[in-house]
Symmetry: C2
Subunit: 401 residues, 2 copies
Amino acid sequence: MKYTEKGICCTGFKAAGIKEEKNGLALISSEKEASCAVMITSNRVKAAPLVVSSRHAKKGRTRGVVISSGNANAYTGRQGIKDAEAMCTMASEELGLKKEDFLVASTGIIGRKMDMQLIERQIKEAAKRLSSKKEGSQNAAKAIMTTDTFPKSVSVKTQLKNGVEIEIGGIAKGAGMIAPNLKHATMLCFLTTDAYIPDSRIKKCLETAVDMSFNSTIIDGDMSTNDMAVLMASGTAGNRDIDSKFQHALNHVATELAKMLARDAEGATKFIEVEVKNAKTGSDAKKAARAVAGSSLVKSAIYGNDPNWGRIIAALGYSGADINPDIITLLLQNTKDSVCLIEQGRVRAYQDSWELKAAEKILDADEIKITIDLHTGTKNAHVFGCDLTPEYVRINSEYTS
Amino acid sequence: MKYTEKGICCTGFKAAGIKEEKNGLALISSEKEASCAVMITSNRVKAAPLVVSSRHAKKGRTRGVVISSGNANAYTGRQGIKDAEAMCTMASEELGLKKEDFLVASTGIIGRKMDMQLIERQIKEAAKRLSSKKEGSQNAAKAIMTTDTFPKSVSVKTQLKNGVEIEIGGIAKGAGMIAPNLKHATMLCFLTTDAYIPDSRIKKCLETAVDMSFNSTIIDGDMSTNDMAVLMASGTAGNRDIDSKFQHALNHVATELAKMLARDAEGATKFIEVEVKNAKTGSDAKKAARAVAGSSLVKSAIYGNDPNWGRIIAALGYSGADINPDIITLLLQNTKDSVCLIEQGRVRAYQDSWELKAAEKILDADEIKITIDLHTGTKNAHVFGCDLTPEYVRINSEYTS
């Protein structure tokens, strides 16, 4: 597997993006009909574009996606549905297609009417700029940003087991309102590939990749009304089926994008990975990892380089996971050092211990890994997260103004 | 029902407290054997004093409680249990009693060995100072504080239906690590009464009061290892049974204490009450209220007077409650004004509406109430909470250092 510069402009795909202050618009188009899978938020309040995209994705074929940023088109009633449909109509008309050929996504503030004049102008402009070059993907990645501080894009090429070379690309956005316990997706993510994926497998491919990437990322515990992940396969690579190497590469692209979300989390200064090992069940491992990565107290302590490991133990205790606190092993790492704070229930990091001092130094880094061995089974899970900072509160107390 | 100054020094009870910088110790003693009920955290990691108190409370009788602040005596293994037992022994010996006559509670940092020399000195000192006057209760309320900025005490007297006058008093502490979904208690709270409560009813009395007060309070979503609530009844009032007026007064004392916790939440500038009305089930009402009061994005917006009501809708959507977003009514209030942002699904507070401007003004207050009418049933719930501020992060990034 090698990284490429193509972004989502894999063979068969074009992209374009326009960003005008808070309002952005991106287009992704497939030259021929692509097979597709769509995952949307499990929030009971589903934004209008999600409703429309679910409808349009039913046949498993698409010609592209139109994405707006700035206004979420959520909690906008019937007019919202009409506006989301209109976005598909506008985009498809520019390309001589039918509205059902397009998917639609939006991100931004909830409960505001769409400015359809602005959208129409931007769609027309974006359609003209559609490009199969990397700049097309780059502009699309920028256009979908809201509070993101950098565009998020990953693309790779790899060979299937039979030697056929395939490409996978992805762009994503999202820096807040990202949460645990999602049944489906968690932010906006658009994945493309030139591989052929059988209709019977494309949904499962996407679900597998999303589960270990975006659904394992916790920023603030707030689940959005607009989360959406799309996988489009142009099938131009010439393969007759996919194999584990394809899934591996797709997982990798999705995971790298998810890590970018955590790194770019609103106000965050540190990327945190929580790994839980040897849990009784997969669900126990996930619950435990999510509780630690989601704890405001753990996140605040890490922000302040405070080795207050008792908060990790407390989070494990309320996680709902089946744990035995007396046999836990707890490790803290950064990219250079590591220290064992608790070894099979025996506390090493007591006050004034060298372990506690080492922990404080380890925390003074951009990337922190917390490893917890529950010693009760064989199941593992990881979660990506970030620290909680005063800046997070500042950003989220000023967003609409 | 009238407020009194007695605090927990109801007839039959004495109290004392010592606070030496971060280390505090409080004693509450009952002149005669009191009947008692104890509730403890549902965290899987239970601090040593909780284990010991549960054991000592089994017979439903007690002579008092010894409480230390500064060190949680949690995740301290066998030594922690020995230390908690020793605290009971020390306190009881000072009063010529057996160790089983005493309950014990602690609050503070997790994972540190107790300084038993300090504890012993403080217990001896506190035993000498035991007083039935209000100062005894006041000193106890101060001694159990950690990051609290003010002592929390409420006491009332009321008449049962048959005219017997009874007293109820309570002190509590807690400003962080306070969380939703607790099956039992949520912080330290000690309630006393001179009423007689039949053994068959005392546990239910406490559970009812805790459920609508402390278990309906959300500060940061982190559930502690040390939460404990105790109700002690001296039975000196002369009543033969309790009635609804007793429960009403007990609920009131607990609720006032819970509100104090939310008001004194770490770094908080605003008290928030979320009321959910007309839900399908009680569980739906609670889930909905907790999701809104617990949302970092809602809390941050309220801190910044940002009327970003879409975040409330998003939180309702992911709460797990059975809701129909199209018929929700959403009201925002402070003690002076109120505004309807959404009326049965119809958005009033669109951009540039007077409702949105009014909402911004209403948010500029110390006490905010969010009322959500789900229009799907008849069940109600309320939750007390607070805003999320940069100061919360600052406090929690520096706690152990």
